[in-house]
Homo-oligomer: 233 residues x 2
């Protein structure tokens, strides 16, 4: 943490959080949104029919818009966006390399279930931010209506071919493991994020009970998403 990175220096709010931690959070989120957007495009290219391609393309542009809002905010904070994202590239790339969808349906489940866990994780961090930045994170983490669409498409596909249910349930279980591993790597990479999530500021120390409650919340939300898809968690 540099000497000038005190809370008073953050333009536009988030007085309780220092500039380094904010930059880390937005850097991680920005790279996550960029890669999610590009992955959706790959899935769209493999989707059958123009309707699904267009729907996935729309999700892709929504995610890319989030990426652009986050990099704007980084620049406003005086951070070079590329530099702010760099520490998180290995963990996020590894997650995507380890969870390459084998078809567009696995891609959809990943966009809903895998990205859902990541979204919950970043949301847990955001509760400690001041209003403008908390609102930015909440908007960026909003699903833009895509969850409804994913649930509809996946349940429709399972309805047409019940054998898909087992394969996609397995896939969902693999995603939860990899997504949680990813969030751990991100926290280990940056102390500032770990501190943010565990008590609202740097130096608050590791609260193991709080960490356990957070993991419980993430797991419960995951199970609810799987249930909405008609899959056993």
């Amino acid at each position: 943490m540099s000497a000038d990175a005190v809370s008073q220096d953050v333009p536009g709010g988030s007085g309780a959080v220092d500039r380094d931690a904010l930059g880390d959070l937005f850097g991680a989120l920005a790279y996550a949104e960029l890669t999610a957007s590009l992955q959706l495009a790959v899935d769209a290219g493999r989707a059958p029919g123009i309707r699904v391609q267009a729907a996935l393309g729309r999700m892709m542009t929504v995610e890319f818009g989030h990426f652009e809002r986050l990099t704007s905010r980084l620049a406003e904070l005086g951070r070079d966006p590329e530099e702010a994202m760099a520490p998180f590239v290995p963990a996020i790339r590894a997650y995507h390399e380890r969870t390459m969808p084998s078809d567009w349906l696995e891609g959809l489940v990943k966009a809903y279930v895998g990205d859902g866990i990541a979204r919950d994780f970043y949301r847990e961090i955001a509760v400690h931010l001041d209003a403008p930045d908390r609102e930015l994170v909440e908007q960026v983490l909003g699903d833009g209506g895509q969850d409804e669409l994913v649930v509809a498409l996946v349940t429709e596909a399972i309805g047409a071919d019940l054998r898909l249910s087992g394969r996609l349930a397995l896939w969902g279980r693999r995603l939860v493991g990899e997504a949680i591993a990813q969030t751990q790597f991100v926290m280990v990479e940056r102390d500032s994020l770990a501190s943010l999530i565990l008590g609202g500021g740097l130096g608050a120390g590791l609260d193991l009970a709080e960490l356990g409650r957070m993991i419980t919340r993430l797991t419960e939300a995951h199970a609810a998403r799987m249930q909405r898809l008609g899959l056993s968690a």
Copy 2:
């Protein structure tokens, strides 16, 4: 051509062109923009460094925005967008399958050179439209500033490794052949488009001299683009 597809029925302009021809043009363009957008995302995923990834991602969202504007106009014309696109899916897919970039640089050259030919072709058609639709096509075919960026990135890459020049020149020559084949398929597929391009309306008949002049214009514009990239056409 259905009985009610007379020029007077087209809402919002293009009185000189019947609704079927407009629907065909916008259907072809919309699917071309959708696939170009998704291809850019694939290229972005393979690009080195976040800066180039983000730049390609921005091009991708611009193209997707064009797709959405065209499908809106199709709906306004009373055409189902998916149906309007369907006749052109085979030709446009075949073009992309025959010109799969082997890396992000080939993808960039394709976005500039290959899509450039397609853009010129659709622009030739658009001169016969009335103002609102002609303007829509011109906006959609505008490069959104991406040409500057592509030229900068490609010449930078060639500057760093001169051997790239020969490979990319060959690639450009292959693209021009495939792109011209694609436009011919599109014209053969729909008489209405052939009529539009060759004299501004249905039933104007095939003017071979005009066709020759058009191909000359397309070829000259292609050579100019190759030259801007520092490649021999």
